[in-house]
Symmetry: C2
Subunit: 402 residues, 2 copies
């Protein structure tokens, strides 16, 4: 079966570059998919010590789990994505999964060979237990009372989902950015349950500058009068102003300076207006991104996720030695990928991971890909990047007989 | 006369590094100074075509104008500074001028030799005509109706102040960052009235990324409910939330990633709190900076100044050729200085200026200084930077007999 014709660039990129035009109707090669909800009627205890009495995880799967259950791959999402990794809902091309260019029949992560699992993380806003859900103690939405989550918590919850699905061991756990942190954490916390960790555009911990950007975004949300201390649901408002600013800040850090210059430059839409309407194209782009985001993303989830990013620091429990932290993971195999123009999590940060892994004589492949788009590159169909991931999965397929 | 003993670092830097401690009592070597107000009873016509019927400029001077009026130096301020370049008010060390380490008796810009002028720019909030002033048409504060200002407007107003002071020609015009753009504009607009332009940590125009950061800051202010469309004075409020976020964003871009890492790292004040209070030291620092700024700076002025930054593009009127723009300035002499870790206006941007100047065979000296503090370095007492500026002013002094 041939995949239907599609644009060579992902819809995300299309949205980026064809600002103001409608997104091309891109058909997914995997077709329509449906999310499912897994319920766990046992308390979940967070790293903070807080607990919730029960929880739910929204997930999707693509492909078929083979007889010996050796071909499962977990795809972990980053800040604003979800369990909806690939495919469409009801043939709506606008609903295409966030990594559909990577995951599907014949794609680098080939669903003809692998059984792929996507899951909305705990604390998320796309169906898994989170701030919008009812707090059984108050019979109102948790709001800001939902426990602060960590990458460790997410991975522990994902492990329960794996149990639920009968998956004792993943052939691979993969993610980009914050998703890659989850792949690293899987290798540390559950080394016997992970064959390979694919770690793209990541860092072993945030820098002070990374934390600073997150903190400004949080302050924009928290100080929005419509935030109401995180209990805005009861007021039938959302802190849209704060979310818009938070998203705009984020977007600046996702793109390289060069690609921003190339795509937007200093082009004025209608000459100098001497006012505060959108004049430069970059202003329109950022406002559009902020507006869109504030319409669908939950402010409390945004706070939780940025905090999980800030806290992630696996070396902290190992005398600040990343090599010691990875000692438990020495039998996991790694593919680490970075992009030259990523200034959010630069190649130097990925090299820290590689150095710590090789100190444990782990099986690690590392690629530093010369690519223009900055941090966002991990979502884009860069030919060298995709060829590399494709080849790496071919190796995994050979190992597990997929 | 020996200058009194003082800390080797500026109070700004002290504030930066000794967060939470009171600023050291740093005595100025120039002593107490007083601002003065110049009134111009002629209309000022802005680049936008708008006009105000009269205007005032707040300024300070240090040192003595010599008999042939050849030793005057204009110091232009950047985003949040003012006419108060050096000295104190009423012996209060907290009131030390923003470039007191650079300007004073025996300092690199030596007030024993030069007559130094500092001026609050038009549209500012430290005494010169601006949004807080009464609009004669409405008898209310201008607020958002104050005309949008450009670097060209500022320089034209400064030229009127020079006339007022009887200064036909400045021995030098000097500034860092946005202040340096004014020095460049002086050289282009009034080449016969400028001997030397000292252009520190500057750029010939903002990049899309620079504009993006400004736009997020503006959106934070404009969408603050207390902004009231720029007419918040009438409501007896200030858009403090927006100003805080704007300032936090700015501060991230002023510091290098490395110095932020070195000074703040990932240090938690009191361990993991699993909440949204300030936990990492960088968070406390940014909140403190935002809070302080929102207490003294005018939101409309912030909008005006960021817009002036965005619009500055002297090449735009010359077929997008910076070399053509500088043709008029070929008899002005230039010192251009950049700092290696400045990612806001990187050395590459200063090199664009130098290349365009040398294309006109202008007399230009360029120094790219290996220094750790990022964009903020232009305010700090870096020994190589200060020695260079000192030597350059010695040359100017010899030329003008100061």
């Amino acid at each position: 079966m041939h995949p239907p014709a599609r644009s060579p660039i992902s819809p995300k990129l299309t949205g980026l570059f064809l600002l103001g035009q409608s997104v091309n109707a891109v058909l997914s090669s995997i077709g329509n998919v449906s999310p499912r909800l897994a319920r766990f009627d046992t308390p979940f205890i967070f790293k903070s010590g807080k607990a919730i009495p029960a929880f739910e995880l929204m997930y999707e799967t693509y492909g078929t789990l083979n007889a010996d259950k050796s071909n499962a791959v977990l795809v972990c999402h980053a800040l604003n994505a979800s369990h909806h990794v690939a495919g469409t809902y009801n043939d709506d091309p606008e609903s295409l999964g966030w990594w559909d260019n990577m995951v599907g029949p014949g794609k680098p992560l080939d669903t003809n060979r692998f059984f792929v699992v996507g899951v909305n993380n705990l604390g998320g806003c796309f169906g898994s237990s989170g701030p919008r859900h009812i707090n059984p103690a108050t019979h109102k939405p948790y709001g800001a009372d939902f426990p602060v989550v960590t990458v460790e918590d997410w991975v522990n919850a994902q492990a329960q989902l794996a149990d639920h699905l009968g998956i004792a061991r993943f052939a691979a756990v993969m993610g980009g950015s914050l998703g890659a942190m989850q792949a690293l954490q899987w290798a540390i916390a559950y080394p016997a349950r992970v064959g390979h960790a694919l770690v793209v555009a990541s860092t072993p911990k945030l820098s002070a500058q990374n934390i600073a950007f997150n903190e400004v975004a949080r302050q924009a949300i928290i100080t929005d009068p419509d935030f109401h201390g995180g209990h805005f649901y009861e007021h039938n408002v959302v802190p849209a102003r704060g979310l818009r600013v938070a998203r705009m800040i984020g977007h600046i850090t996702y793109l390289s300076d060069d690609v921003m210059a190339e795509r937007f430059g200093r082009v004025l839409r209608d000459g100098m207006q001497f006012g505060y309407g959108p004049e430069f194209q970059i202003e329109s782009y950022l406002r559009h991104q902020g507006e869109k985001f504030s319409g669908y993303f939950d402010a409390n989830t945004y706070l939780l996720i940025t905090k999980a990013l800030d806290y992630f620091d696996p070396a902290a429990d190992y005398d600040n030695s990343l090599a010691l932290a990875f000692e438990r993971a020495k039998n996991v195999k790694f593919l680490v990928v970075s992009f030259t123009t990523d200034w959010r999590f630069s190649p130097a940060r990925s090299r820290e991971i590689v150095t710590a892994l090789t100190a444990n004589r782990a099986d690690v492949s590392y690629a530093e890909i010369d690519a223009p788009h900055g941090h966002d590159e991990f979502l884009l169909e860069d030919p060298r990047y995709f060829a590399l991931v494709r080849a790496y999965y071919a190796r995994i397929a050979a190992e597990v007989g997929a």
